[in-house]
Amino acid sequence: MADKGMQWSSRLSFILASLGMAFGAGNIWRFPRVVAANDGGAFLIAFIVANLIWAVPLLMIEMIMGKSTRLGTNGAFRNFVGRRSTWMGAWIGLCAVLIMFYYSVVTGWAIKYLTLGVKGAVKPGIDSEAVWRSFTSSPGQTILFHFIAMAVAVVIIWAGIHRGLELANKIIVPSIVVILAVVMVWALTKPGAVQGLEYLFHPNLSSLLKAKTWLNAFSQAAWSVGAGWGLMLTYSVYMSAKEDIGANSFVIAFADSGSSLLAAMAILPLVFAVSPNPAQAVQALQSGDTGLTFIYLTKFFPTLPAGSLVAGLFFLALAISALASLLSMVELAVRNLSDAGLTRKKAALATGVIGFALGIPSALSIPFQENQDWVWGVGLLISGVLFAYAVYRKGIENVRRMINHASWIKVGRWFNVCVLAIPAVFLILFIWWVWQSVSWYPQTWWNPFEKTSPATMAVQWALLFILVLALNRWLARRIKAPHPEDHGPDTAPPVTP
């Protein structure tokens, strides 16, 4: 259980840390591409609706579970739902930790490109494809930068809540906003950049009638805000007793969406400004996350005045936003290990060593990293359903009252409807992604060794399910904090009638 002294020092600190958690590399390199591929303006409306239906209720659920139990994912499920459900917290925690293994590698890529920017290597004539190929095919380099990312994260977490997490996010989050604003203004002064804004905001509202727009909006909402990952639950362990849940959930969802919009308003004009013609800009936007960032933008940045300098700023924003998200994943692991009796420093060290070791396969092989991104990215949708299940077990109306008891705004019965909708949304998204995956591999979708096949997902999920179910009783016993039934009254705040 978190020590009484371990609390965010202010509401601002909590919000900045949560925003650092939510705003990651995906907001910079995925959101602009997805919004551009889904008729811009229409997608922006669908995305905010998806956030309100999926992300906001899940943020509220995570916050009430973390705040009321003061335990990480395992302990929160044990105390909030019951001993038999500890495995659900373990699934959620391990899913996030499995993402941490390869996310540290991705953070390392961003740090590597930041160093290239600082050294002035992003200059006119750069063969960006050769630079990317040379870097990713050099195990010493990818492992070194993965190590640097994990080491920096562990040192910050080691330093504690106030001098580590809080201080880092107070520097990182405002810096990201300022850098994106600078990149946006710089890009908009360049010829052709306005076409990027036109591409982003063209209001083709008939797209709201297309299923694809909504499926992409819900997928982006599920991954972008970080709701249902267990990360918000972890940060809520350190909320002060009087801190709000309702308004803060909306603040985090809107701040993450607003920052994503700012990123899109910086990246799309940038892509159009650096592209020799609009057709190439559109082609670049279809070249995938790493293709767009590390190959296309790196190649064309230096062709514009002050482009090398802006490239450095851009990679700085990418590196620190990835780092802030990595911090929350490390903290999730550290919280669970601390609940099991390890000191914070030992837990941080253990997470760092294990995270570095198990991230090495992703550092050595991009296909392996993409496989893990596929398996555990979609696995996060299951985590969201498990949070909804926790609420069903506790009673949806009961949980809504608990949230209202700890909120500065009144959360209406729409919350109940959204919680009931979460499994349906999961099912629709899951079927859609599996259907897409089958269409990628019409002949070999059943092969678990195929990179992003449904079979690889099913096999790895099954292994994790077997593991957490088998360890359920052991995990429940390992948590040092008492279970509510051991002492009578529930650890949750009193429910007002």
């Binding site: 905010i48 905001f201 063209h202 209001p203 969406s257 919009l261």
Partner: protein, 31 residues
Amino acid sequence: MSTLAIVMMAAMLVLYFGGFVYFATKRPPKD
């Protein structure tokens, strides 16, 4: 940039950042 795109941009900025400001300025209810 077309007028419709400018209107859409203004609407989205108000929606995204207005929502943030609205909830960020919420304070605890007075007992």
